[in-house]
Symmetry: C2
Subunit: 461 residues, 2 copies
């Protein structure tokens, strides 16, 4: 055996990443339908690594691989999968088997797996669950998508407010089942209302007779079940939390959110912003060709309409273009510079809105700044492009026209790039999704109109 | 008094956000130079809220506000500030005062404040620090920017590997100074090498006689001081860590990284990706007009060159454009659709590379998928645009030409959008920074060339 089975690269410190060599060996074994070799390769994998492996497979390989290993599937793999990949995988499982896997997960992970199932499968799985588990999941699924209620786990530690620190420690030690990980113990009154949280390190260092009330953090952030997950992430980040209690409408403690779930939310939000701003409705890395084509079509269709609008504006000036063909050659430059400047401003605005740096308090100052930046860069590029165009066509009237159009369009770009996301956000429309088409429409129309309009005035007439 | 001083909105659960009303009262007090009112307003603020307030102020207001409050400044405010805002604020402080503030911070926060100071101030502050503190900071600052060494704090808990759980607990209780927050106790051998980590909840539930070695997690991720912070963030996220030990080159435990610092890294990376992809070199929300103009100029200049390249391509076809002016009207449509389709693919590729979903293993499959998506959408839009153009100009030859050009350019967009970031990444160039200009250059040049070239062949000749 030339190369021992070593799925992960140990780089001095023990962090494990699937190596290309390992993946190729898995793919070879799949091609050869060699299940013995496959199982030997896959057996030592951690859930994270096995999830990665499923991600790297093609749809066919995944089916084959999963079919072979599903009887001994570690349920922890399921919540780690991308939604699209999980859909493929879950389709291959019997409702009973799925229910068994779900029973072994904490509520937040179970909900994540459940929420993407179709109604029919959801019902079948639910009915195969033990009653208590079923009720808990039903309740969790009744909260809106993207709410704190969907993100929380029911497994947590709560203690009455009249205990002392030793009683807490004894209670924790005596519990049969503990959450997989926890960082705070929550304090509740006799009606189950959250009063505060005690970080474990404080519990550990407190004297055994210290009343829990004295070491609990009353100011700790509580999340209502209906709170938007983005808001949850914002609070975790702002206050450096590692876990937080979740309350129902009557302020009763019903769950706990931990930082690992919140990191996923932050990463998801970042992904969404980036792909939305670039015209992709949903991250589609793991989607098939047809679904991807369909989901990207909408945005491109919107873009086609705006491009045709720009063409329509150009068509007003057919006479001008025919008499000075140089204008047709140069006209995309003004539109393109405006589009890019607008996108720059837009990105800063969208990020500022998401991080709550840009609010109604400083919106006017931001707008003024962006218009000024547009004007300054407009002046600089007007200088550069008018010299280039003048030298190219030996026509200084064209140079003047393109300079003026450039300044106008760059200011328009700054204004549109700042104003459009602010306005959309005001009307509760996600600015990342819809701003970009609007901004480039403004800069295209304004760019062609200014350039060709000024040319018609100065050069033709 | 109509409205009591209530800086933050208590929304049922106690999360606090500065209200617009509060900000306006602060701004009014600043205008009126009413320091008594100002101090009364600012005194109850948490460090997070005071940092926010400084962010919302204009540069002048910030100077005035900070001047008034700096003698009683909570040092925790400093690391919470945006780099550009912190620069303004720190300029107003004496090195001695700054040194005092820094002494009160944990190493990671102190480093964050120090690393943006100019050399001169850095030296002055360092020499005003106690010797031990100074050495620690000097060491930390000697690690490369964006390394784990810059992110870690020295304050941590380490225990020898031959202790039992009770000895650990006793030691923690007996320590004079503890880190502000900690979630794991690290286990080291007699030479200070990291052996593993014990989560506090496990320490708390272990029997007092249990050897620490039995409950420690040997597989815990260790971060070398020189590890890139993005890698650190990746490992935290992948393995759901809340804290991790940092080792020097001899594998000796030298520091600890906690999840709150990592969240900032994740958020920063997301911000950078978004603004880079949109042509902003650095987040510039808090930068002044001149610096912002300058930093955005470079990208726009690159774009100008590519736009002129596109114009140069168009100029080959001046004769064609002069005889059929409709071509000038329609030509931006093909280029624009290609640019947008390319940007869609690019965003998915850049995100895929950052999240390590896209690797050499599936690069070819990704490329094939994106080319196919481009081809399918190309066919769809070829149909739509050829009907529109045909009806508009009653010229079915133009309709045919624009249809063919659309298909060609959409495939080119898919290929360029996928291939360019992959290649740049291979050569260790950040694909978020440089891809976008290259992709639109391809789609512009290809779009104009295909459309006007085909028109010259089919219509003119």
């Amino acid at each position: 055996m030339a190369d021992p089975i070593n799925p992960t690269e140990k780089t001095g410190n023990k962090h494990a990443v699937l190596t290309d060599g390992f993946l190729l060996r898995v793919f070879d074994a799949l091609d050869a339908h060699d299940s013995v070799a496959l199982l030997a390769l896959i057996d030592p994998l951690e859930p994270e690594d096995y999830a990665d492996l499923l991600h790297f497979c093609s749809a066919e390989q995944r089916e084959q691989l999963f079919d072979l290993t599903k009887t001994k599937l570690n349920p922890d793999v399921l919540p780690l999968l991308d939604e699209n990949v999980r859909e493929d995988v879950v389709e291959q499982m019997e409702p009973g088997q799925l229910a068994e896997a779900i029973t072994n997960l904490e509520t937040d992970d179970a909900v994540e797996v459940m929420e993407n199932l179709d109604r029919q499968t959801q019902r079948e799985v639910l009915s195969a669950l033990p009653a208590e588990e079923r009720d808990a999941l039903r309740t969790a699924l009744s909260y809106p998508e993207d709410s704190a209620g969907r993100l929380m786990q029911r497994e947590l530690l709560a203690v009455p407010d009249d205990w002392n620190s030793q009683q807490c420690v004894d209670y924790i030690r005596s519990r049969q089942e503990l959450p997989e990980a926890f960082y705070d113990v929550f304090v509740v009154d006799s009606e189950g209302h959250t009063l505060g949280a005690v970080p474990l390190h404080r519990l550990l260092t407190a004297k055994s007779t210290t009343p829990i009330k004295e070491i609990m953090d009353e100011q700790s952030q509580r999340m209502p079940v209906m709170m938007d997950q983005k808001e949850v992430a914002y609070l975790f980040q702002r206050y450096g939390l590692v876990s937080a209690p979740v309350e129902d409408e009557q302020h009763r403690l019903v769950g706990m959110i931990t930082i690992d779930d919140v990191i996923d939310i932050i990463e998801e939000r970042a992904t969404e912003e980036l792909v939305h701003l670039s015209g992709v409705s949903e991250p589609d890395f793991y989607r098939d060709i047809v679904t991807t084509t369909r989901s990207r079509f909408t945005w491109l269709f919107v873009n086609l309409i705006t491009a045709m609008l720009a063409s329509y504006v150009i068509s007003f000036f057919e006479g001008t273009l025919q008499s000075v063909v140089a204008l047709a050659v140069l006209m995309p430059i003004v539109a393109s510079q405006g589009g890019n400047a607008g996108t720059q401003t837009l990105a800063v605005a969208v990020r500022g809105l998401a991080l709550r740096e840009l609010t109604s308090v400083n919106a006017v100052a931001f707008l003024a700044k962006e218009a000024s930046v547009g004007a300054f860069n407009g002046l600089l590029f007007a200088g550069i492009i008018s010299i280039c165009a003048g030298l190219w066509y030996h026509n200084w009237m064209i140079a003047l026209v393109i300079a003026l159009a450039m300044i106008i369009n760059m200011i328009a770009a700054g204004l549109a790039g700042a104003l459009i996301p602010i306005i959309l956000n005001k009307f509760k429309i996600d600015p990342a999704i819809s701003s970009s088409a609007l901004v480039t429409t403004v800069t295209d129309v304004c760019g062609y109109l200014a350039f060709l309009g000024l040319a018609t005035i100065f050069i033709i007439k």
